[in-house]
Amino acid sequence: MRNKVGIFIGCVLILLWCLLPVAWIISLSFKSQAAITNGSPGFFPASGDGAGWSNYSDVLANDQFRRAILNSIGISLIATVLSVIIATLAAYAIARLEFKGKKFVLTMALAIAMFPVVSLVGPLFDMWRTIGLYDTWPGLIIPYMSFTLPLAIWTLSAFFREIPWELEQAAQVDGATSWQAFRRVIVPLAAPGVFTAAILTFFFAWNDFVFGISLTSTESARPIPAALTFFVGADPFNRPASLLAAGAVVSTIPIIFIVLIFQRKIVAGLTSGAVKG
């Protein structure tokens, strides 16, 4: 009985921990901009300080912000698809084949997962400017791919190791062609793993800030996290907090959607891969 009460209290604490700051940023996004300028402390908007949906309509009417959403969605999706395709090939080889250099690939992936990203932005900044990738979509897609590959390879090879590959031969014995065996047997078994790797990769790309801020200079490629910091001016102590909060909420909506739909897959991927994204 005491145990159950403890777990119940634990659950409440976890929920508070996770949701309170989210509730705060939503509440902040409904404070009016005038109230923010005058100072309006407190968790909820004071009476008369409410802004309705006006912060949201202002944010969505802002060209820079709309463009940043487009950039983020495009860049993250392309990087995710490319990274998962390349990682699937590598993970298949790692899980299924015996070859020289297997250890090397896994060690390298691990080393890159721990790489201090900031130490690359200087040389990349210089290189990208020379070859014309600075401030373009590919200029961000390429580094996102490199830094999500380790996570994708580890997650996928863990999944692929669990697949009963004999089923492929069994299907062939039963008269399926090798294409049919692959298409009807292996693809459905491998799809959940590939999907999980894709979600984790997308999270990484969507969250990235260091590359986003260093390798872009205009709205032609600037992703949301970087745009949020630009959109408000350089002074961190005097910001249109509520407007920014509305932007932050908008940028979090896709993440919440993905989490709500794919909760099970994400947890499985994080715990089997044991590599941070």
Partner: protein
């Protein structure tokens, strides 16, 4: 199942190998395997090894993008300047402080969360979904949310905390500003820690716990003598990843203080030198030093705790 067949296959191959120099099949398999991993290796090296070598090269120049014609080789003087500057050491100390404090707190809270999630019977999906929200949220957004929460003009923290005046300025001095940054960092990354620990907790055998209980071990003894030793590998993997991640702390500092009042980390200093001040030579030297310190920390943790990453992964 699959690994069993694969290993007998390869055993058969290696037996054949002792008779023949190398079977065609093994050769073909190696070729195919290498072909399949080649694209991944190329992409990973393109953006890491190559720029890192370039940083190594640039670091021996006095090279500023604002005056590129004046580039000249200066040997190791950039490193000397950095390593003899008290600012470098101060920034490194602050970074180590961020790393040690956040990882320690995350480990304790993350473990408590993992224990709750492991034992929970109701609302499992709800808890797991909500714990993924901080994990998935953009770090920049977390930074903004907490910065606004701590400001006295529009936040709520001063009102909620006892013994703190309503007009206390968290961002006016190093200690409170560092605390605010740590709060955002801890909030965002504890869920990741707790999920890794949850996977480790699932490996602890229930029979062993039951046996300890029958033998009269208290809850505290079971925790320290049975649970923790049995999930050592998972704890070490979680600490290693989080420590290296925390050492690279950048986003929260950028958003919350922009490095003001002594909150700057080593990553932020490197960024400021290269991207804001265009000092590519000096910035590259700092990049190399940052890289070396990350290697040193990784090596230290692996040696100190004898983490075998490969085996930890097999179990986890």
């Amino acid at each position: 199942m699959s690994t069993a067949t694969a290993s007998t296959d390869s055993k058969r191959d290696s037996k054949r190998d002792t008779r023949l120099p190398a079977s065609n099949r093994a050769k073909a398999e190696t070729r195919l395997g290498q072909k399949l991993v080649a694209p991944a290796i190329v992409v990973m090296l393109l953006v890491t090894a190559f720029p890192m070598l370039r940083a190594l090269y640039l670091s021996v120049f006095n090279y500023s993008l604002t005056a590129p014609e004046d580039r000249e080789a200066v040997g190791l003087s950039n490193y000397l300047t950095a390593l003899t500057d008290p600012l470098f050491w101060k920034v490194t100390a602050v970074t180590v402080l961020y790393m040690v404090v956040t990882v320690a707190i995350e480990l304790v809270i993350g473990f408590a969360f993992a224990m709750v999630m492991h034992r929970i019977i109701f609302a499992r999906g709800l808890i797991r979904t909500s714990i993924l929200i901080p994990y998935g949220i953009i770090t920049v957004v977390s930074g903004f949310a907490w910065q606004f929460a701590f400001t006295y003009q529009n936040g709520f923290v001063n009102q909620w905390l006892p013994f703190i005046g309503d007009t206390f300025n968290w961002f006016g001095d190093t200690t409170p500003a560092v605390i605010a940054i740590m709060v955002s960092e801890i909030w965002k990354t504890t869920p990741f820690m707790s999920l890794l620990l949850l996977a480790g907790l699932a490996q602890v055998s229930e029979d062993m716990l039951e046996a300890a209980k029958v033998d009269g071990a208290t809850w505290w003894q079971r925790l320290w003598k049975v649970i923790l030793p049995n999930m050592r590998a998972a704890i070490m993997v979680a600490v290693l990843f989080r420590a290296l991640d925390a050492y690279r702390i950048f986003d929260n500092i950028f958003v919350m203080t922009a490095g003001a009042v002594g909150t700057e980390s080593i990553s932020f200093l490197t960024y400021r030198q290269t991207i804001e001040q265009f000092q590519l030579g000096m910035g590259s030297a700092l990049s190399v030093l940052l890289f070396l310190s990350v290697l040193l920390i990784a090596f230290g943790i692996v040696k100190l705790f004898k983490v075998d990453l490969a085996s930890a992964r097999q179990e986890g």
